[in-house]
């Protein structure tokens, strides 16, 4: 199980970074989403893996699942979702204005910075 989780985190993060290095916003969006998933799994793993410990302190229960990583992951997911939505809107704006979804949008029309 540990190996599986570690591999999943590693593969997700690797694919995320690979996509992040692309020069088009669509690939970058996907890359950031994958990276976010990897990080969320990593935080969850910080609370240790296991399905036996109860989430509440019951009398007689041996262990207790750590509730904090779950709370942290919930916060991280919400924030990541909002940020992704913003990035999608921004990417669409860049595509509408610049005409392509390249990250290095073509230069603004010459004028202000040019020597007369």
């Amino acid at each position: 199980m540990e190996l599986l989780l570690a591999l999943a985190i590693g593969i997700l993060a690797g694919c995320g970074v690979w996509l992040l290095l692309a020069s088009r916003t669509f690939a970058i969006l996907l890359g950031l989403a994958l990276l976010g998933h990897a990080v969320n799994l990593l935080i969850l793993a910080g609370g240790r893996i296991g399905a036996k410990a109860p989430p509440l302190a019951l009398p007689g229960a041996a262990g207790l699942a750590d509730p904090l990583p779950q709370a942290l992951v919930l916060t991280a997911i919400v924030i990541g979702f909002g940020m992704s939505a913003f990035l999608v809107a921004l990417a669409l704006k860049g595509m509408g204005e610049g005409g392509s979804d390249a990250v290095d949008l073509p230069d603004a029309p010459p004028g202000r910075e040019e020597e007369p």
């Binding site: 990080v39 240790r48 909002g82 913003f86 921004l90």
Partner: protein, 506 residues
């Protein structure tokens, strides 16, 4: 229990919510509310600074949960000083935005207040996860402010800035996950108690976690390999927004300073974590900023390059780690923030007065109000390049004496003095191009005073800091001393040491 430490976060946050509710009730109402919130925040910041000036550390426990479980806001001298600087900067930035930028798109004031809430929270929080949340609040507000009322140039600068910071957020979360997995706590004071007793087997993992978090702070502070986003993004923002952004890099600097001073000492996991690569990269950042100022083709880009110089200088002082270096950095920090913010506002005023060439460094028509604007520029340039008698000189003198001991002294003095000289050259060339050479008739003057009151406030900040040099240096020294004492901070947050029963999980 006093609510004062929570006020600088709560006030702008509540104002932002109110502004969103009242959207559509007219710009005048939004402006009044926003201005009132900033003024109230400034008063609160002054009260907070006065309350902690005696050396008390005010701890605000949200929901009255004890420290390692709940979220704490901690106001010591450093946090209060930074919050005061934030609101002292927010007032002129907001006044400048009232001259038209805020009418160019919806929600400007709500975003501005959210930005203030995020920055104030980042300075005050005593918990690393809450720091992450505050970073996200300030970042999402800064994305929207950067793009506010802009076109392709803003989108272009914004896209790289947003993607880079989202990647930084992922890195921050990864560091927090690793740190919680090994340490079982994210409260800074608790970490400071726990780090020296980490089992040796866990030390490498804890080092990776701390380094990841430090890297994120350095990304926000724009250290060299991660600094190339800054000139584009800041020069693309509207002048008042860029002026407020002058404090954004300082959030990363202060967060790193606090983490390294409070948590790293005595801990095998923190030993020489930032040494010796951070001072090298900090000096390289100073060099990059200096070269970037030489290459800049707009006044706003010159100011953005000076933000880089200021970041590199501050990070070198943080890497030095001594109390004298911290004290000098805390004198330099308000000075450089206010002066670069002033240069951003000046670039906006120059662009408005020149018309078509904007603030580009090209020969253009003579400006209306060239004399007052030129005088304002002269004051800011003297302060930025560290000439006597203004605050830049005093701050640099303290930095030269306080930081860079041993073998670093030659490199440190050279970097600081050469960057000051080149800055002076760049600004002299800029002044010559903008104010001296134009001979044609002046363009029509824009309405309003030549030097807007917001700009005047920032221009007068440096002479004021120089006049108040003794109290300012005294307060900075006291803040540095309190920070480096560590134990009062840890005890104030945690009580007499954490008696929390801990379960070490395999």
């Amino acid at each position: 229990m006093t609510h004062l430490p929570f006020l600088p976060f709560l006030l702008p946050f509540a104002a932002a919510g109110l502004l969103l509710l009242l959207e559509g009730r007219g710009l005048a109402l939004a402006r009044g509310l926003s201005l009132a919130a900033v003024l109230a925040g400034l008063l609160g910041a002054v009260a907070l600074t006065a309350a902690v000036s005696g050396g008390e550390i005010l701890v605000y426990r949200l929901g009255n949960w004890p420290a390692p479980f709940g979220i704490v806001f901690v106001a010591d001298r450093l946090a209060a000083l930074m919050v005061l600087l934030l609101f002292a900067l927010a007032l002129p930035a907001l006044l400048a935005a009232l001259r038209g930028l805020d009418a160019r798109g919806p929600h400007f004031h709500a975003l501005f207040q959210l930005q203030l809430a995020g920055i104030a929270g980042a300075f005050l929080t005593g918990d690393l996860f809450n720091l992450f949340v505050c970073f996200e609040i300030l970042l999402i507000a800064s994305y929207a402010l950067l793009l506010h009322g802009g076109g392709l140039e803003q989108t272009r600068g914004g896209l790289a800035y947003v993607v880079l910071n989202l990647a930084g957020s992922a890195l921050f979360l990864a560091g927090l996950g690793l740190l919680y997995g090994t340490m079982g706590t994210l409260t800074l004071a608790d970490l400071a108690f726990e780090l020296p007793v980490v089992p040796p087997a866990d030390v490498p993992l804890v080092r990776v976690a701390l380094m990841t978090i430090a890297l994120v702070f350095l990304l926000k502070a724009a250290l060299l390999p991660m600094a190339f986003w800054l000139p584009h993004a800041y020069a693309a923002a509207g002048a008042p927004v860029a002026a407020l952004f002058a404090i954004l890099t300082k959030v990363g600097v202060v967060a790193l300073l606090r983490l390294s001073v409070i948590a790293f000492p005595d801990a095998p996991a923190g030993a020489s974590l930032l040494w010796p690569w951070l001072p090298v990269l900090a000096l390289a950042t100073v060099a990059l900023g200096t070269v970037s100022a030489l290459a800049a083709r707009r006044l706003a880009a010159v100011a953005a390059s000076l933000v880089l110089v200021s970041s590199g200088t501050l990070l070198f002082a943080v890497a030095d780690g001594g109390e004298a270096a911290t004290a000098a950095a805390l004198v330099y920090l308000p000075h450089s923030t206010l002066v670069t913010a002033g240069l951003f506002l000046l670039s906006g005023a120059v662009a408005a007065a020149r018309g078509a060439p904007g603030d580009g460094l090209v020969r253009g028509p003579a400006m209306a109000g060239a004399l007052p604007l030129g005088l304002a520029f002269a004051v800011l340039a003297l302060a930025a390049s560290g000439m006597p008698p203004l605050s830049g000189f005093l701050a640099k003198l303290m930095l030269l004496q306080g930081a860079g001991s041993g073998g670093w002294q030659v490199a440190w003095w050279t970097a600081l003095l050469v960057s000051g000289l080149v800055t002076a050259l760049v600004l002299a060339r800029t002044a010559s191009l903008l104010f001296w050479e134009p001979r044609e008739a002046a363009a029509a003057a824009p309405p309003g005073p030549a030097v807007p009151p917001a700009l005047l406030m920032l221009v007068l900040a440096s002479p004021a800091l120089a006049l108040a040099a003794s109290p300012v240096a005294g307060h900075a020294g006291a803040a540095a001393q309190q920070l480096h004492a560590r134990i009062p901070y840890m005890v104030a947050v945690m009580g007499m040491g954490p008696d929390v029963p801990r379960e070490r999980r395999p």
